[in-house]
């Protein structure tokens, strides 16, 4: 390995290290696209399917939990009793603002502003931590109100979905803090802004997943969704199948 590095340095000359590093940051590809950025988009596309499955399970199980509760079966609490819309709206606002600070960090490094990069990355990580703190408080308060992971199928689906989202946010915060540390050591130059852009793609993805979760988990009342099934059932009855 050391011999290979020495050979490479001899071949290109010590004066071309910076140029070499620049090319290493933007590797050539037959498509003309940056492979790392394409890989991140592929990962995000696959993560969409992962969250799609969790969201589908939540939508199905939450409806079941509400119906069982109304029929006097199953144990509470159920969504309409426990979800706190104003509190979660603030969490949604915090995550939206973190997306803004993330793009401002990217804009800073693209202009070569190292201090701006660190300030905005720090703000993004801080907002991410505020979101995680809010989620921890929400989970704790739900637990004290009697909703645990195994209380009912709503609790199971809710904690699994929002917990996996929280895990994504945690990974994002660690990534951002790592970028700040690397930046402090002079490891993020203007020509390496793609490193920040890729981290930003991941962070914005976490934000768009929350946009979907906020609507489907918190805002949409599932008694309305259930009436679609009830209408279909009535339709079957009308055409003589019921």
């Amino acid at each position: 390995m050391a011999q290979a590095v020495a050979t490479l340095e001899q071949a290109h000359g010590a004066g071309e290290v910076g140029h070499e590093a620049e090319h290493a940051d933007h590797p050539h590809s037959s498509t003309g696209l940056d492979s790392r950025k394409l890989l991140m988009w592929l990962f995000l596309a696959s993560d969409c399917m992962f969250f799609g499955s969790l969201i589908a399970m939540y939508m199905i199980y939450r409806g079941d939990a509400e119906r069982m509760y109304l029929a006097g079966q199953g144990s509470g609490p159920v969504p309409h009793e426990i979800l706190d819309i104003p509190y979660t709206s603030i969490s949604a606002f915090v995550l939206l603002m973190s997306s803004l600070t993330m793009v401002l960090a990217l804009a800073s490094i693209q202009r070569g502003n190292q201090r701006g990069l660190r300030v905005w990355l720090g703000a993004t990580a801080a907002l991410g931590l505020v979101f995680l703190g809010g989620q921890f408080y929400e989970f704790t308060s739900f637990y004290h109100e009697g909703l645990g992971l195994t209380t009912n199928i709503f609790g199971n689906a809710f904690f699994t979905l929002t917990g996996f989202h929280g895990a994504h946010v945690t990974i994002g915060v660690v990534w951002l803090i790592s970028l700040i540390v690397v930046s402090l050591r002079g490891g993020v130059r203007q020509d390496q802004s793609l490193n920040v852009e890729i981290a930003g793609l991941y962070w914005h993805f976490v934000d768009i997943v929350w946009i979907v979760i906020f609507t489907l988990v918190y805002l949409i009342p599932y008694d309305k969704v259930e009436t679609v099934g009830q209408q279909a059932e009535q339709g079957f009855r009308l055409i003589g199948l019921g």
Partner: protein
Amino acid sequence: MTDHAMQLPGEQEDHSHAHPSEIVYIKVALVLVAITAVEVAIWYIQWFHDSGALIPTLAVLSIVKFVTVVGYYMHLKFDDARYRYTFVCGVVLAASIITALTVLMRTHKIEYGLRLISGA
């Protein structure tokens, strides 16, 4: 394929010039916050619940927010179209998974309900 097919191996596109300015980013953030405020506000208006307009309105607003973040903050509006196709494939597959699983489970429930009604 467009002009990308003409690009020689090794030629790298420059993304940075195509990205919007900070002012645009801030305006987008204000729009996103305003949409979120509207979402929460209509949730408190009983008319939306009673009329059945709540779910379609929330769905549209949510999609607008999703597309805005992906387009402006993730730069898909400005970047190479192949990144867009890659992500859209994932989103379409995810939407298909949600639709298929929901329909599958609902169909099963309706059949179960019909069996209960008919006493079978």
